[in-house]
Amino acid sequence: MNTITLHNTLPNVFAGRGDNGSEIWLREVTLERGMHYLISAESGTGKSSLCSYLYGYRTDYSGTMAFDGRDIRQLSVAEWCEVRTHHIAYLAQDMKLFAELTALENIMLKNSITHHKSQQEIVRMMEMLGIGDKVNSLVAKLSIGQQQRVAIIRTLCQPCDFILLDEPVSHLDDQNNAIVAQMVTDEAQRQGAGIISTSVGNNVKISVDKEFKL
């Protein structure tokens, strides 16, 4: 997948509000593989909605979104599974971790279908982010910041063309923010993937090619 295009897209809940100056909604936007994008937004401007549309689990929008020119409303369930395991790596704002599994189990749940990283690599990433001692801790017992780091590692455990991060560092200190930024950038570079990151203020410290105001 090389491009993601948005054509005149608008969440249904915003219908009839008129143009509010967004650089995404009701615009013609093309996101390219290999580029780094920041979508900065205020709360309630449809940031998470945008991510959910791009990941195929919500369809309550007007206009068209397309992967390589193909309308994503046409994608079959099997094609979406392919997108979610091979083309777009997604970190949801609410992380969507499973509280009853350990940190490592959460990551392995993803990695066991993609086989993208070895268990050693994963543990090393956890150590880099300062949660090496939490490998076998239940996610429910971790702090929000620790959970966020688990979720980021899980997101990187797949081949991808785009890495879609919904407020990836909202709960991280500067030091971890920098490590995450490095880790994501490295992974994107290895795969030639684009990065699409959203933020309400606390930006991930990644060099940005283009910034959109939502």
């Binding site: 969440p11 249904n12 809940v13 909605s49 959910s52 990941y55 689990y57 919500r58 369809t59 309550d60 369930v77 099997a78 599974c81 979610r84 395991t85 997604y90 949801a92 969507k96 499973f98 009853e100 599994l101 490592l104 189990e105 392995m108 749940l109 993803k110 066991s112 279908i113 993609t114 268990q119 797949q158």
Partner: protein, 407 residues
Amino acid sequence: MSKSDNNYSTKHLKWKLLRKHISPAQLAGFSLASLIGLTIVILAVQFHQDVRPIFDDEESFIKKDYLIITRAVSTAGTLLGANNEFSQAAIDDIQAQPWCRKVGKFSSNDYSLYATIGVGGGNSMGTMLFFESIPTEFIDVADSDWKFDPSKPEIPVIMSRDYLSLYNFGFAASQGLPQVSEGIISKVPLEFTLRGNGHNDNLKGHIVGFSNRLNTIVVPQDFMKWSNERYGSGLDRNPSRLIVEVNSPGDVKMQTYLEEHGYQVAGEKMQQGKAQYFLTLVVSIVIVVGIIISLLAFFVLMLSIYLLLQKNTKKLQDMLLLGYSPTEVARPYINMVLAINAVVLVIAIVLMLLARAYYLPMLQAMGTSGGTIVVALIVAVIIMLLISVGNVIAIRRKINALWIQQS
């Protein structure tokens, strides 16, 4: 695969995640209800299979739908010397009834008959006797001996099985005589003394078969004609018994007709028609009850699974977002249900076979070794397949419905 690898396998992690909220009590309830329902259905089917031979009785000499009718003998009739014969007009009237296919007359011997049987050691038993004959088409026996040749006179006889029972269980038992099997008695030479019309002959005979239905001693019609001409008075007598081939032994119109004319049905054929009808009715009711229980069990399971999926909705949706397909997410639940159904199927069949082993000796006492178990097994498998397919479709639909989330 090492243990740690195994601990992080997709299957293990999925099950660890999705088994939460599974209610063992609900599943046990479903399993029990399903087991009871299925067992009832297949036991009823099996019982029907086992009991049916008693009614069908393929070995019977007389085909299925034959009745033997006589006029009722009343005390007044005996005193007044009323005759119990069927006039030709009465026979024609029966023949004209819609339920009647064919009428055959019983003719009996018109001379004195004495039978002797050797019981070994030079001893012999003898008794006055009678013969009856009916047209051969009413006798369903493919026995080449069933004919009579005057030039080589030997009399083939079909005897009521009841007579042998009377001898074995009544007479022989009380007199300390040996009991005899059908095979042995068929080999014992009989001697008949026929006397009348100036003749007095000894003829040999043997038993070619036993009948459950014909409550008499039957000889071929050729012999009856020949012997009545030779030893009889020459008078043409009307028959006192008729054999009637009917469409259905349980026919109500037929029963009304027989009652109105004061005819009696010998043997159990008509009651049997009713009994068979009631057997089918009862078995059908039991099967319906079993199916209703199975259906209820099916819905209990569906409710239980829906509840389970409902409670796990968030988790299932999050798994779909990780890239698991609905099929993969559904698999642990589908496997669980299929495993339960398979166990229920096996236990139901075992229970059915146990129950059968319990009742079969009683049926064997009635002279049948039971029917095939294949039908019941097929029914069991088909029902479980239908239930399983229903379960699988319901689970998949429910999980597919989670694919698109509401905002």
